[in-house]
């Protein structure tokens, strides 16, 4: 650098801050931040995000742990909550506030003010022209025309200064202030909200306490006691499918809800696009699947396990995979099983599902004997079997009601139930975000479709008119021509 330190003006700390603030709130910075925000959003769509697809993130860690660790360090699996993404949008919003607030005050003060004075030299302005008209009548005629076209008019001496389209700035400010309101709504939802999921077999009762959830997260400032005290019993679930494409066409969940617990239960129907609402809490029907009902007996015929086991759907025909674990047998028994709602078979694929509805079910089991590993203290997935300390003892496909005898006991395929995944969300900020969005659109429409422009008329030796369209928005030329015509008509009439 050629500049000496001593040559720089001493602006002091406050001066430096003031300089930084001016830089931050400048339009150029805002524009760069806006583009940066768009660019920064891209990686989140290219890499799996923990909040949406944790399984895929795990698979990154399995295939290349070093790379994944490095990627994790720069928050590539959590882009939208990362410090760098937050930094960009927070700076952008500070810049926005710093830009919009002063303009808002300025605009409020300008309400009812007269347009600025007519410039001395009109010939430097846009669309300047000299009009052949009756000079004495010109101002009156122009005033009438401008008033008819809703201009604000300032009459000083022999000139008119008129302005129109103040609402452009109103709409502009409304749009930007609404964006701030949306951000406030998002922040409120994040800090005071709650989101959780629960898987229920049809017939199960759910009580809205944290322990009933399969997973639940609270906002930073949200207490666990804030849950709406309701209980919900799933009484029926019907899924209908299109016979040609096997695509689902409708899901209907019937429930009985007591809100608060103990009050008389009401029958409530929940569908995919129709959640149940209580205050700012909503209950959504999110996913569904099958739970085969099985009974496991030991050699003596005593029941060691009985009940529905939740299986996870694997394809669009709802072939479902799961694990049945029977710790109360010696040695312990486990099954890796798939539930096939409507069985078909081929040489290449073996048994597979041909339709998502249960018409001809099979339960395909592989039986394992040994140590289930449940006492090791490591958390285990309920949907898979840890076979590291087990040996495979057999394979069997069961039809409904049939039994497989695996030596030390037997398993019977009794039937099936549907399960549903309920998502329960409390977002107290979303109304703010919604209002912000509505006002943002209104503001945008007002600002983009209002044209702000000034027109001046000056009568001296001749009649001069000119105008100024803010931001070079088109349409001024036509207006000046119309005004010219109005002025010229006066002359024609008088002749």
């Amino acid at each position: 650098m050629s500049t000496n330190r001593a040559d720089l003006p001493d602006i002091g700390v406050i001066g430096l801050l003031r300089w930084a603030w001016r830089q931050l709130t400048s339009m150029r910075t805002a524009l760069i931040l806006l583009m940066l925000l768009g660019v920064a959003a891209i990686p989140g769509s290219l890499f799996p995000q923990r909040s949406q697809n944790p399984q895929k993130v795990d698979s990154y860690f399995r295939t290349d742990p070093t790379l994944a660790k490095w990627m994790d360090r720069i928050h590539l699996f959590n882009v939208y909550a990362s410090p760098w993404f937050s930094a960009i949008y927070l700076l952008l919003f500070i810049s926005l506030i710093g830009c919009v607030l002063p303009r808002t005050f300025h605009h409020l003060r300008a309400i009812g003010k007269k347009p600025p004075l007519t410039p001395r030299n009109l010939d430097r302005m846009e669309g300047f022209r000299v009009v052949a008209t009756e000079n004495e009548l010109a101002l009156a005629v122009a005033k009438k025309w401008l008033k008819k076209n809703h201009f604000r008019i300032r009459h000083e001496g022999n000139s008119l200064s008129a302005e129109k389209g103040y609402s452009r700035e109103t709409g502009n400010l409304m749009f930007h202030l609404s964006l701030i309101l949306i951000l406030v709504g998002v922040a409120l939802g994040g800090l005071f909200g709650m989101k959780g999921e629960a898987i229920l077999n049809v017939g199960d009762r759910f009580i809205n306490t944290p322990t009933s959830y399969d997973n639940i997260t609270f906002g930073k400032f949200q207490g666990q006691g804030s849950l709406v005290p309701f209980s919900l019993t799933t009484t029926n679930f019907v899924a209908t499918y299109d016979p040609v494409t096997s695509e689902p066409s409708n899901y209907v969940l019937t429930t009985k809800i007591s809100n608060p617990i103990g009050s008389p239960a009401k029958t409530v129907i929940i569908k995919v696009n129709k959640p149940w609402t209580s205050g700012s809490t909503k209950v959504y029907l999110q996913a569904n699947g099958y739970s085969p009902l099985v009974t496991v007996r030991d050699k003596t015929g005593q029941i060691t396990f009985k009940g529905p086991v939740i299986f996870l759907p694997q394809d669009s025909n709802l072939s479902s995979l799961g694990a049945i674990k029977v710790p109360d047998m010696v040695p312990q028994i486990g099954f890796i099983a798939s539930f096939i709602p409507t069985a078909g078979s081929s040489k290449a694929r073996g048994i597979f599902s041909t339709y998502p509805e249960v018409l001809d079910p099979r339960l395909v089991l592989s039986a394992w004997q040994g140590n289930l590993g449940l006492d090791s203290g490591n958390p285990q997935s309920v949907y898979s079997l840890d076979t590291s300390k087990m040996t495979k003892i057999g394979l069997k496909a069961l039809t409904l009601g049939s039994t497989y005898n695996f030596g030390t006991g037997s398993i019977t395929f009794d039937g099936w139930k549907s399960w549903v995944n309920l998502q329960i969300v409390d977002d107290p900020g979303k109304m703010y975000a919604l209002f912000g969005a509505i006002f943002a659109i209104l503001g945008l429409l007002i600002s983009l479709f209002t044209r702000q422009r000034r027109i001046w008329v000056k009568v001296g030796e001749s009649v001069e008119i000119a105008g100024l369209a803010k931001n070079g928005i088109p349409g001024l030329e036509e207006e000046l021509t119309a005004l010219t015509r109005a002025l010229e008509e006066v002359r024609e009439e008088s002749e």
């Binding site: 524009l31 769509s45 799996p48 697809n53 895929k56 569908k271 696009n273 659109i441 945008l444 983009l448």
Partner: protein, 298 residues
């Protein structure tokens, strides 16, 4: 007519559209190339446009006919499935082609931009051709998540915006080509009738300023729908992310123009960049992307 018959009828109408838009394409090509023959021997600045005009009118007539037949195809496709025809990528594409044609006819009626028929007809042909060959899926009812009145509102707003974005991109592309010619010493004979650089620049700005609020609305309508279907109004699903990126890019375009005063080449490139983020979202995220917006049926 039964549902299946209606679906077949809709397919036939799409094939008819392929023929009609091909004729429109050739008419527009002839319109621009014919002027070359009419260049006066000694005077390179004089052109006789009279023959072109007749062919050009045929082109416009074909665009209007194509628009009508395509409307019938889209409507019967919807009727065959008893719903709005926006359930999979084939249906998005034919509706998108319809909106592109509509945006062109609107721009033609308002700004007399017949020359734009050349890039528009070839875009429509490519879209319809890909749709009927690669993206085609039999007519079927909707999956439960799509059963909502927001389907009609959100998807229609998005498709109309897409059509207008594409037209704005074609205009900006034309601007860049014409600017190159002018920098090299003047436009060739066939490009004489294309409007001035300034009006091309203005036209792409007007189109975007007109459709930006609609795109904003499409995103917000999507958020409202997501809130009722998925339990969260914004979840940074890849399609949402790219819709947001498109929004940011067009917001940057509008600010660059209105506040910083960008015009001409820089503005045209920014416009094309913003339009490409929309196309990327439509093609890449629909076919190869993951996430909640997986309705392409592919």
């Amino acid at each position: 007519m039964t549902s299946t018959n209606l679906a077949f009828f809709s397919n036939d109408a799409i094939y008819a559209c392929l023929v009609i838009f091909t004729i429109a394409f050739f008419a527009h090509t002839l319109e621009v190339s014919w002027s070359l023959k009419n260049v006066a021997e000694n005077d390179k600045t004089q052109f006789d446009f009279s023959k072109m005009q007749r062919v050009g009118r045929i082109g416009t007539a074909m665009m209007i006919l194509g628009f009508l037949v395509l409307t019938v195809a889209v409507v019967t496709r919807g009727m065959s499935a008893h719903r709005v025809p926006w359930g999979n990528m084939y249906e998005f594409s034919i509706t998108g082609a319809l909106m592109l044609t509509a945006a062109y006819l609107f721009a033609f009626a308002k700004y007399k931009v017949r020359w734009l028929g050349l890039p528009v007809s070839i875009s429509v042909l490519l879209t319809l051709g890909t749709a009927i060959t690669v993206l085609y899926r039999p007519s079927a009812p909707l999956v439960p998540a799509l059963k909502s009145p927001w389907l009609a509102i959100h998807v229609l707003a998005a498709i109309i915006s897409g059509g207008v974005f594409l037209v704005a991109n074609l205009v900006a592309g034309t601007f860049l080509i014409m600017e190159r010619y002018e920098l090299k010493g003047g436009r060739p004979a066939w490009a004489q009738k294309i409007p001035t650089l300034e009006s091309l620049d203005q036209l792409s700005y007007r189109l975007i300023a007109f459709v930006f609020p609609l795109w904003t609305f499409a995103i917000i309508a999507g958020a409202i729908w997501a809130e009722s279907a998925w339990g969260k109004y914004w979840s940074w699903d890849p399609k949402e992310t790219w819709a947001f990126i498109t929004w940011v890019a067009y917001a940057a375009y509008l600010h660059a123009r209105v506040t910083v005063g960008w015009r001409g080449r820089r503005a045209a490139w920014l416009c094309i960049f913003a339009g490409s983020t929309f196309l990327f979202n439509y093609i890449w995220v629909n076919i190869w992307g993951t996430g909640l917006h997986t309705y392409s049926g592919l």
